[in-house]
């Protein structure tokens, strides 16, 4: 039994109030503190960051508010599921509703970093457990018995002695006057009924019937359609506008410019294009057509960058001294006396997020208030930015989050919401801002371009005695100095080089890891080969060192759990008994608090290679919703394969070359592995992230398998394009 002690302070931990004539609404105020004495669970600092609302109707229906933005990571199902587990209700009696931005009652209403479940775990459980306790106390009072004589099951309280039962809905009104308990008992995980099982996506029935759910679907009567025209190239700005012809087109209301420069920018205010041309009209198609008739002159503001410039800067960086982020021992000296040195360079291009739902937002700004509705991963930051733009207090600005047609990090940067607010203010009415795909793909906030050089030195026994990494990125290095193989080798060094750019970049699913995992794990495959060792054995030897005699004390991974996923995937894939005609690669990575190991099976079909199967072992602690978890892992694998093999954004004098899906290649159905099998480590540890961790390692598992099939190593992404076009001598 886990006991969590609550401390009631000035802003009470729990606020209980009657919601209408019947039922209780329990609002959690996460500003309150919570301690964990003695044997009780230790509560992470992040505990304050999450929240929940429970409404119980008199008929026993339970509405659970989902506080965090839903971008396809399925938190709208899994977060309420955690509440329902501790509340001990029948999942069929639960309705889930998306909460709007509400910083009074909720914390960390943000979709990013695979943190929603990890940071919400204790507090969501407590939300359910506290409500259950109040209901039980109300029943105890009614029956004049002790709470210890009561139990619950599927939304009913049971008197263990008499067998009497009462539904949550029947007793809810009595629970309103019960004081908040000082201690809350959480379930023993072995008693979980819902967690660990699979429940279906709560929005699936609406998704498969086409009900309005997404930002682009949200519209209000009388709202004007707006589109923007941003400069065609990074480094350019508006010079002059001739809107005469566009304005004369049918259905067009106006053409004007806006400046969306935010006075007090947040970290999320990433946007190269703040001065925009706006065209408004009555219908989407009319605005799209008239937009083509805009005559706009742009002028150079900052130097234009092309992909050839980027490639040269990245190559040059590899021969420069970087900023040393970590150095253990003396890798240069150790390499001089080594019997073998493996020296390889890897690279990857800029990537666009390409959420299938393009950027859009609804705004209605009046003198007194602003109402915004749309797809946003960071509603709290958007409100701050809109407040700064409009010079309006935050309390006068409301933001509702729609379901999002993908996030991948793109909707962390809410300039489109700011733009909608600016347009609404200008026209003095409600507006629906819609980006065309081309506007979306060429706007930026790209995954940075990267290049990394690795050097590993081996002694006569094939033991790695030195490991050096030098990473460069436009704009930032992708390396994490305290991740594996840090701690496994006496002589170790990481250097970083940052290259400035005027192209806007940002977080893209599993930032930095999305490239560096694949590079590192493909490199280690080559090092293992040079050492004459099996790639899994080679890694396990390194983990043994980190377990028994780690180098340094800043290594930010658990080597036993890391080795655990490798051992699991080896066993499940039958690594030691590979079927004939199958070529295999392995890769493992730790990020977002979760461990993933993958084996890819490749077969030859004539001259082609086919990805036949991916085996994936995952240690994310307790799996909250198994079906959804497997779906996330499969999606991360396919997303990772796609971008590794096919995708890139190139620049010609600052202009993105790819502006729609005829040029930007996204993975398609026939290119996805037909089978992905997922295995979880069962260890009862509190759950960690799943939205991102399966993506980063897959690039190397694919590269290593393709090497086995072809004898060719793959260093430059996207493999299916860059390898042919790479003008630079491969390391």
């Amino acid at each position: 039994m886990t006991v969590v002690k609550t401390e009631i302070n000035r802003r009470s931990f729990l606020k209980v109030s009657a919601a209408g004539s019947a039922g209780i609404m329990i609002g959690f105020n996460w500003l309150a503190s919570c301690t964990s004495p003695g044997e009780t669970v230790s509560i992470p600092e992040e505990w304050f960051n999450i929240n929940a609302f429970i409404t119980i109707a008199d008929n026993g229906e339970v509405t659970i508010m989902s506080p965090n933005p839903e971008i396809g990571q399925n938190v709208k199902t899994s977060m309420p599921l955690i509440v329902a587990e501790e509340l001990d209700v029948d999942w069929n009696m639960v309705k889930v509703e998306q909460a709007g931005l509400d910083t009074e009652n909720y914390r960390r209403q943000l979709a990013g970093g695979s943190q929603s479940i990890r940071q919400g775990w204790q507090s969501l459980r407590m939300a359910g457990a506290a409500a259950r306790r109040l209901l039980m106390e109300a029943a105890a009072k009614k029956w004049q018995v002790s709470v210890s004589n009561l139990s619950t099951d599927k939304g009913q309280i049971i008197n263990n002695e008499t067998g009497d039962k009462i539904g949550y809905g029947e007793i809810a009104i009595e629970a309103v006057s019960i004081p908040v308990p000082e201690e809350i008992k959480l379930k023993d995980p072995k008693d979980f009924k819902l967690i660990g099982q699979g429940v279906k996506n709560v929005d699936a029935p609406k998704i498969v019937t086409g009900e309005p759910l997404f930002g682009l679907d949200y519209m209000e009567d009388g709202a004007t359609i707006a589109m923007i025209e941003h400069p065609p190239a990074f480094g350019m700005k508006l010079k002059s506008l001739d809107a005469e012809e566009a304005k004369a087109m049918p259905g067009i209301k106006d053409v004007f410019t806006i400046d969306t420069t935010v006075g007090e920018p947040q970290w999320s205010d990433v946007n190269a294009f703040t001065e925009l041309v706006v065209i408004t009209g009555e219908s989407t198609w009319q605005v799209m057509k008239a937009k083509k008739k805009l005559k706009i002159e742009w002028e150079q503001d900052t130097p234009a960058e092309s992909s050839t410039d980027h490639a040269k800067k990245l190559v040059d960086a590899m021969s420069q001294k970087g900023e040393v982020a970590r150095e253990d021992g003396n890798p240069a000296k150790a390499s001089q006396s080594a019997s073998k040195v493996v020296d390889r360079t890897f690279s990857a291009p800029f990537l666009a997020h390409n959420t299938l739902e393009p950027m859009n937002f609804f705004a209605n700004v009046t003198a007194e208030k602003a109402i915004l509705v749309g797809p946003i991963q960071t509603p709290e930051y958007l409100r701050k930015s809109v407040s700064s733009l409009l010079n309006m207090p935050e309390e006068n600005i409301s933001i509702d989050m729609t379901r999002m047609g993908g996030g991948f990090g793109r909707r962390l940067y809410g300039h489109f919401g700011v733009e909608a607010a600016a347009i609404s203010k200008k026209i003095g009415g409600p507006v629906k801002l819609i980006y065309k795909r081309e506007d979306d793909l060429t706007q930026g906030t790209y995954r940075p371009a990267y290049r990394v050089n690795y050097k590993a030195a081996l002694d006569d026994n094939g033991k790695m005695v030195a490991f050096q990494a030098k990473g460069a990125g436009i704009p930032g290095s992708p390396l994490f100095q305290d991740r594996f193989p840090a701690g496994t080798v006496d002589n170790y060094k990481v250097e970083n080089i940052n290259i400035d750019t005027n192209i806007s970049t940002g977080a893209w699913r599993a930032p930095r890891s999305n490239f560096v995992a694949g590079a590192e794990q493909a490199f280690l495959d080559e090092v293992a080969e040079a050492a004459g060792k099996d790639p899994i054995d080679f890694r396990l030897e390194l983990f043994d060192r980190a377990i028994n005699d780690p180098v340094g004390d800043r290594n930010d991974y658990d080597p036993e759990r890391y080795a655990g996923v490798l051992k699991l995937v080896r066993e499940k894939a039958g690594w030691d008994n590979k079927p004939a005609g199958v070529f295999r690669g392995v890769s493992a990575y730790f990020c977002h608090n979760s461990y993933v190991a993958q084996v890819v099976d490749v077969v030859k079909e004539g001259n082609d290679l086919k990805l036949q199967k991916v085996w994936c072992a995952v240690d994310c602690g307790i799996v909250v919703n198994k079906e959804g978890a497997i779906n996330q892992i499969e999606g991360g694998i396919i997303d990772g394969i796609g971008h590794t093999m096919y995708s890139q954004v190139n620049f010609d004098k600052g202009a993105p070359v790819q502006n729609n899906f005829d040029q930007y290649r996204l993975i398609r159905h026939t290119e996805a592995p037909p089978e992905i099998e997922v295995f979880f480590v069962e260890n009862g540890i509190d759950p960690t992230g799943l939205g991102e961790p399966s993506l980063p390692p897959i690039a190397a598992a694919v590269a290593n398998a393709m090497y086995q099939a072809t004898g060719k190593r793959w260093y430059h992404q996207p493999f299916m394009i860059a390898e042919q076009e790479e003008l630079i001598e491969v390391g």
Binding site: E211, L216, L356, G635, N660, R668, H669
Partner: protein, 152 residues
């Protein structure tokens, strides 16, 4: 602008729009049927897939002037109660992640199964290649279509 009469999900509708307006925007802006999605506008992603006389087509690239008396079916009209075998299979396999592409995937799958009721996994993959799922639910889509074929 011109007045067009079109038949959508079994009902006649009159709309007054430019004759080159893609049926996608007629559905979304004028008929408030927003289940059909905008993804690329150039018939590359399949998010806007609808049926025209039972054949799957890209509604972003079909002007209303070309529709005539042909029957348009959208995701909202695929079944009465969301109980088309493909829709049921989508829920059984818990296919959607973000869900944005899924209406187009379902419409394409339904039209495909009408023509090929017992497809192989490879035939499904080829038939579905025009529909991008950015979240990468392809393996689930493939299995769901196999289930739908069995249950049809």
């Amino acid at each position: 602008m011109a007045v067009f009469t079109i038949k959508v999900n079994g009902k006649q509708h009159q709309v007054d729009v430019d004759s080159d307006t893609p049926i996608l925007w007629v559905l979304r802006d004028h008929l408030k049927l927003v289940g059909t999605k905008y993804g690329c506008g150039i018939a590359q992603c399949g998010a806007c897939t609808i049926h025209l006389n039972g054949n799957s087509i890209r509604s972003c690239s079909l002007p209303i002037s070309a529709v005539g008396e042909q029957e348009v079916t959208t995701i909202e009209g695929l079944s009465e109660d969301g109980d088309h075998p493909v829709q049921k299979a989508w829920i059984e396999h818990d296919v959607p992640q973000c869900g944005y592409c899924q209406a187009g995937q379902i419409m394409n799958a339904a039209a495909f199964l009408d023509k090929n009721p017992n497809p192989s996994s490879e035939e499904i993959a080829t038939a579905m290649n025009g529909n991008i799922c950015r979240c990468g639910t392809y393996t689930r889509i493939n299995k769901a279509i196999q289930t739908a074929a069995k249950n049809a």
